[in-house]
């Protein structure tokens, strides 16, 4: 594993995609490779693109790659699609929109399946970003699965979050709701040639103006709302995406100028540590409880209404926590 980390540091794409694979497969000892590369991470600008299924995230990502390549910036893409809750399989179809970059060595696209993770991304995204980062990508674009209102996990990973909206998804109440509508650093109204785009633009602008300075990390940044023309008019489309690119970079510069990058990095690091704690502490306990048959016995007891799940969990917790060395010993 140490070797794999070294190969990634040397820029080996094969090793990089294998490392991401090992993270996805949760292969034991993969953390050793991460240890190897960890110190070199934290240089790239991470851009999150999120929005409803079919909003045009992949097509937008594709054009954004072009916009950055025209500036000779290297680009990494992590494109997430859903895993079937029934079979565990997945059809990873984002990449099909980005194949014109397949032979460009400055672009590395990796598709990821959610593998049961909630929140719109996969568990491997955090480390996947590290891998792309040490490969020296200037910009890393993370495209989430098609999300609803609640999947906002992307804010723990991206410096700049773009929420893609399309006309026809509901009235202005939708724009007032918590969750997805709160996390945007930039709003894109895609397919702006469609009926209702003007109305959606107005509603989103209203929402942005009302919520200015109320919450969010980047105080002082007014979330811009950009209209992106239909892909059926390639020139107009490319032009709007170039504007989007400039806005994204402006946002990053804003974070840098106002010393807000470190706050975002704290949030990302906190998420990573809790994820690692979860894996180090809870996962082994769960595994033991499952394999010893205790889980089945607890399910039976709970179904018969003998004991409620909270009491059962408390019993398990007490047993394991007792084995913990006290802080004075540690």
């Amino acid at each position: 594993m140490k070797e794999l980390g070294k190969r990634v540091l040397a820029g080996d794409v094969r090793a990089a995609s294998r490392l991401i694979r090992n993270l996805e497969d949760q292969i034991a000892d993969t953390y050793i490779a991460i240890q190897e590369i960890f110190k070199e991470t934290g240089k790239s600008h991470v851009i999150g693109i999120t929005g409803a299924p079919g909003a045009g995230k992949s097509t937008l990502t594709d054009e954004l790659i072009c916009a950055y390549r025209s500036q000779e910036k290297s680009v990494g893409v992590l494109a997430v699609d859903p895993t079937s809750p029934f079979t565990g399989g997945a059809l990873l179809g984002d990449r099909i929109r980005m194949l014109r970059h397949a032979e460009d060595k400055g672009v590395f696209v990796r598709s990821l399946a959610t593998r049961g993770a909630m929140g719109g991304i996969s568990k491997a995204v955090g480390e996947g970003i590290h891998v792309m980062d040490v490969l020296g990508k200037d910009k890393i674009i993370v495209e989430t699965v098609g999300v609803g209102q609640q999947e906002v996990e992307i804010i723990n990973h991206a410096h700049t979050v773009i929420v893609v909206l399309v006309p026809g998804m509901g009235d202005e109440i939708q724009a007032l709701k918590a969750g997805l509508m709160e996390i945007a650093d930039i709003f894109v109204i895609n397919k702006a040639d469609r009926d209702g785009a003007g109305k959606l633009y107005k509603e989103t602008m209203n929402m942005v103006q009302m919520s200015r300075d109320k919450y969010g990390i980047a105080k002082g940044w007014t979330t811009p709302v950009l209209l992106v023309e239909s892909v059926l008019e390639p020139h107009k489309f490319a032009e709007s995406v170039t504007k989007l690119r400039d806005k994204i970079d402006e946002h990053y510069q804003f974070l840098v100028d106002h010393d807000l990058i470190s706050e975002r990095m704290r949030r990302k690091t906190a998420a990573e540590i809790s994820e690692a704690l979860w894996g180090a502490i809870l996962a082994p306990i769960l595994e033991e409880v499952e394999s010893s048959g205790e889980m089945q016995r607890m399910i039976d007891k709970s179904l018969l209404k003998e004991v409620d799940p909270y009491t059962l969990a408390d019993e398990v917790a007490k047993r394991y926590l007792k084995e913990r060395p006290t802080s004075s010993e540690a």
Binding site: R14, R21, T87, G89, A90, L91, G93, L99, A102
Partner: protein
């Protein structure tokens, strides 16, 4: 903890738009618990090889109905081998005559070729068997 999932790239190259079979297979493989990436139509072999490497797939499935299989399969094998990806398996499907199928497999250009009418379950079983053997 470990949960190894088979990843497969399905590809169509050149001026060949017969993709009903490959789309059906994509669905079947997904339903068998694999992660499937489809290139879409009109790709080059270079693009296919590059995609296979970036996606770290176990297998590339190339579907061909143009008669170019005797050139395409050896070329794809060569492209993968030369990029340190000799371990990625290539399988084929489409309109490929029986004699050519045997020759391509014999020459090592493809690990297996499945002709028209092959059921999805035959392909799934073959993949599961070979991947289980590889992981031992």
């Amino acid at each position: 903890m470990e949960n190894q999932i088979i990843r497969i790239l399905l590809a169509k190259t050149g001026l060949d738009s017969h993709d009903k079979g490959v789309r059906l297979l994509a669905r079947g493989l997904k339903d068998s618990g694999m992660e499937v990436i489809y290139t879409g139509l009109y790709r080059t072999l270079e693009e296919v090889a590059q995609t296979a490497i970036q996606e770290d797939v176990d297998i590339v499935g190339l579907s061909m109905h143009t008669g170019a299989h005797n050139q395409a399969f050896p070329r794809l094998r060569e492209l993968l081998n030369s990029q340190n990806a000799g371990d990625i398996l290539i399988i084929g499907g489409g309109a490929i005559p029986r004699d050519d199928q045997l020759e391509l497999v014999e020459a090592g250009s493809a690990a297996a070729i499945f002709g028209p009418g092959t059921s999805t379950s035959t392909i799934v079983d073959w993949i599961n068997k070979i991947m289980a053997a590889r992981r031992k």
